[in-house]
Structure formats: C-alpha cells, structure tokens
C-alpha cells in the first residue's frame, strides 16, 4: 500500500514515531494459561497501552485481539470455540459500523469475506457490557452469511451476538478475529481485507494533527 512499516519486537519498550500499531495473530507464548494472557505482560505492552490511552490507533488481529482483551484495552474475553475445534476457513462478516477509523472505506452493512484461523474465538462478555457495546455501536463486525444475514448458522465459533470484532468506547482501538491481512491481495484470491487498511490510512491522513508523536 506504499507505506513504510516497522516490526516492533515484544521485548522492545518503545513505539516512538509510529502512526498506528497492529498486533498480529500468532499464538504468542504458546497460548499458555489463556490466549494472550502472558503476551499481555510482554515489555512492549506498557507502551502500547500508553499509546492507546493517548488516542493512538491500535488494531488487534486474532491473537492480537485476544491480547487486547487480556490487557483490558477492549472489554470481554475469549472462550474455546463452541465445537472445540480449531477453525481455518473463509467466513463472512458484516460491517456494523462504517464510521470508525478502521472501516470508513466500507459501506454500512457491507459484507466482507475474510479468513479465520483460531481455536479460541468465542467472544463472551457480561450482559451489561454487551448492552453497552450494542448501544455505543462498538460492535464493528458480526459473522453473517454471504448475503449479510446474521444467523446462528453463520456463527463459526459461538460468539455472543455473532461478534467478530469490537472497538473501544473512544473508538481508537479495534480487535477482530478474522485476518484482513490474509485476504488483501489479488494473489490471495481475496482482496476484501484491504478495505480495513485503506480505512486506517484514510483516518490517519484526516487526523494527522491529532496523532500522538
């Protein structure tokens, strides 16, 4: 996408100069204890939490989402998939909120085909928090069928309210279980994920002066 990106190691303690942080997927620390539970205490996380606190854009994908939950940057927790198995397949999600820095290049209700690959993607939160997520349009993606119908059949893992991705109340932190980066190029036979990265770039461009240094 013509942008420069830098890898930040989990042992690093600074993310100086970054416009946005992406926590990728990938079974960090072997998923010991709970997914994301140990990773959440890696040295870099203090800087990530601080960056998010200053309004910096943070995107957590799959294990990255689980880490954001464990770190308390997003509400809720992940349970084992409803049918206990690891799921690796393309699914569909509906964009429930297209007015976020992560989805502004999507149409409201747009259906994206994205790959998932996880064993613990069964989102759970208490009823009070769920109501708040619904009331504040914090549910950004929900599992749906190809036509965009949110049904229990289209829910791959048993997630509460078909939740595939949520944002925080401030709107600058997003976590989702699907992998947009694994479906963002023609060579991968799926380009839907690119909408999310285009949205992030668009939001950064618009808010340049508000971004933390």
């Amino acid at each position: 996408m013509g942008q420069s990106a830098h890898l930040i190691w989990h042992q690093d303690t600074s993310i100086k100069g970054m416009d946005a942080i992406i926590l990728p997927g990938g079974f960090s620390y072997g998923d010991y204890l709970r997914t994301g539970a140990i990773a959440r205490f890696s040295p870099i996380m203090d800087a990530v939490v601080e960056f998010a606190g200053r309004g910096g854009m943070v995107l957590g994908i799959c294990n990255g989402f689980q880490i954001l939950l464990e770190a308390g940057l997003l509400p809720g927790a992940m349970l084992r998939n409803r049918h206990l198995s690891f799921i690796c397949e393309d699914i569909y999600v509906r964009v429930e909120n297209a007015d976020t820095p992560f989805t502004n290049q999507c149409e409201p209700g747009q259906v994206l085909r994205l790959p998932i690959a996880h064993a613990d993607g069964n989102y759970y939160t208490d009823p009070v928090t769920l109501s708040a997520l619904q009331a504040n349009a914090q549910i950004v993606f929900r599992y749906c069928d190809r036509e965009g119908h949110v049904t229990s059949q289209a829910n791959p893992n048993g997630s509460l309210d078909n939740i595939a991705g949520i944002r925080n109340a401030a709107g600058n932190v997003l976590g989702l279980m699907p992998h947009p980066e694994r479906g963002a190029e023609k060579v991968l036979h799926n380009e839907d994920g690119v909408f999310i990265f285009r949205s992030i770039l668009s939001a950064l461009e618009r808010n340049k002066i508000h971004q933390p240094v």
Binding site: L33, R34, A37, I38, F41, E70, P75, G76, A77, L79, R80, N81, R82, H83, L84, Y124, T125, D126, G158
Partner: protein
C-alpha cells in the same frame, strides 16, 4: 508453604469441553453424571511464612494473571506443611 489454586469457568458460562466429557461418560454407562466442568489446577511453592501475606499474594496473582475474572472464578487452599 504450598498453595493449590483452582480456576473454573463461572457458573452459567457454557463449558463445551465439560459437555463433551459428560456425553462420553454417559456413553460409557456413567448415567448419573449430570454435569462436568473443566478447570485448571495449579500448585505453587511459596517462600512465605505468614498465611495472611500468602493469601494476599495468591489473590493478587489470580486477579492479575492466573484467572480471567470476566469468565473464570478461582479459589485456593494453602498448606502450611507438606
């Protein structure tokens, strides 16, 4: 002293592992099993002599790391001699 820590899913949260094991037990003829809940058991050796201090330490460990209190409950036992 030694601490035994039990972490289990909160009541009301579906436990698919427990349900699968329950069905398996039924298949084996253990028809009296009404529910199975899967949890984690951790055993810690602590260099502590004061019970109250050990309790506080374990509670803090559970809240921060060993349990996720959004979905899990924890309880523990402390054994002074072993």
């Amino acid at each position: 002293m030694k601490a035994k820590i039990f972490v289990t899913l909160k009541n009301g949260i579906l436990d698919p592992q427990g349900r699968t094991i329950q069905q398996s037990l039924h298949t084996l003829g253990f028809s009296t099993v009404e529910e199975v809940r899967i949890g984690k058991f951790m055993e810690l050796d602590l260099n502590e002599t004061d019970i109250t201090s050990a309790e506080n330490t374990i509670k803090s460990m559970c809240e921060k790391l060993l349990a996720n209190t959004v979905i899990e409950d924890y309880r523990f036992e402390i054994l002074e001699t072993y």
